[in-house]
């Protein structure tokens, strides 16, 4: 792009052919990527509030089962592995698209989505078995706090899966080429964030009673 004071408009938003993120910015980083990191920084506060609320309330139930009565650590650790692995496949998807390997990227995106869905399935199974054991959403304060925290995380994962499917459809229509690599990368940031929140939850909720 020719750079002259009269032509270059470095402050122009989204001034590029469809999909190309090559406008100049004051910092040299793309708007979309900065926006995603800002959002993730903000999401830390969201999960911080939920996790602290959970920690405060989990042992204050007056009735009903407590964490030690219902948690199945071996089962949940499988879920953890699933999500961890999905982060790997997500990273591989980003790597693939940077190299222009659209098909490979698509495969990894699909795999990530399926692993995410497997994680959600595991959560659903876990929740239903807890309910069978007497821990409903309204049973006690532990139940409310636990389901809300893990529920918010689960919603984040589910929204991620929807986005992944959207990306896969774009890829199938030929709209997710290497010029769009940053879109995949930015979504990857969100997905990894969801994974690291789970890293926190797994330790603090499940492993440290």
């Amino acid at each position: 792009m020719t750079d002259t004071a009269t032509t270059a408009q470095p402050s122009d938003p989204e001034l590029h052919p469809k999909g190309v993120v090559s406008h100049q910015t004051s910092t040299g980083i793309s708007n979309e990527k900065l926006a995603m990191w800002l959002f993730l920084g903000s999401d830390c506060l969201l999960f911080g509030s939920l996790i602290s609320t959970y920690l405060l309330l989990r042992h204050r139930s007056v009735t009903g089962p407590g964490p030690e009565d219902v948690f199945d650590i071996p089962f949940t650790s499988v879920s953890s592995f699933v999500l961890l692995f999905s982060s790997l496949t997500m990273a591989m998807a980003v790597g693939a698209i940077h190299r222009g390997e659209e098909r490979r990227c698509r495969t990894f995106l699909v795999t990530t989505a399926m692993l995410g869905a497997l994680f959600i399935a595991g959560q659903v199974y876990e929740f239903t078995s807890f309910v069978k054991e007497g821990l409903g959403y309204t049973t006690n304060i532990f139940g409310s706090a636990f389901y809300t925290l893990t529920g918010f995380h689960g919603v984040h994962v589910s929204v991620g899966i929807v986005f992944l499917l959207g990306l896969v459809i774009m890829s199938l229509r030929g709209n997710l080429g290497p010029e769009r690599a940053e879109t995949v990368e930015i979504f990857g940031l969100y997905w990894h964030f969801v994974d690291i929140v789970w890293i926190l939850i797994f330790t603090v909720v499940y492993l440290i009673p």
């Binding site: 004071a5 900065l34 999401d43 830390c44 506060l45 961890l84 790597g95």
Partner: protein
């Protein structure tokens, strides 16, 4: 006359940040290695579950470093924070540290720690 942009706070020159392809960039193999390491750490974490009568202090002392290591690994490599413009790291770490400080203060105010370590234990 070429456009002068002065990047704010960036350590390097004001080149387009094409996602740090110029410098070291994790390869697929690197990602797999990191994932394996994360898997091993997770196994260790799960292992603590099987330790009988583990005290909270012990669990915190072992699990927190492991958790932080996993957190840092995913952020640093999978999310590319190690290789990207420092702005991202600053924004994210700011949110993280703020959340930790504010909520530790809140829990302290609500006497959470005495719940965790009640008198006599």
């Amino acid at each position: 006359m070429s456009v002068q942009t002065e990047p704010r706070g960036a350590a390097g020159p004001a080149e387009h940040d094409h996602e740090a392809h110029q410098k070291a960039h994790p390869t697929d193999r690197d990602y797999i290695v990191i994932a394996v390491v994360l898997g091993i750490i997770t196994l260790l974490e799960v292992g603590t579950y099987f330790i009988e009568d583990a005290s909270t202090t012990f669990l915190v002392a072992t699990l927190f470093p492991l958790m932080i290591a996993k957190f840092a690994a995913v952020c640093g490599w999978f999310m590319h924070l190690r290789y990207d413009n420092p702005i991202f790291r600053r924004v994210f770490v700011f949110g993280l540290v703020l959340a930790i400080v504010v909520f530790v203060a809140t829990l302290t105010s609500m006497e959470f720690w005495s719940d965790v370590y009640p008198r006599g234990m």
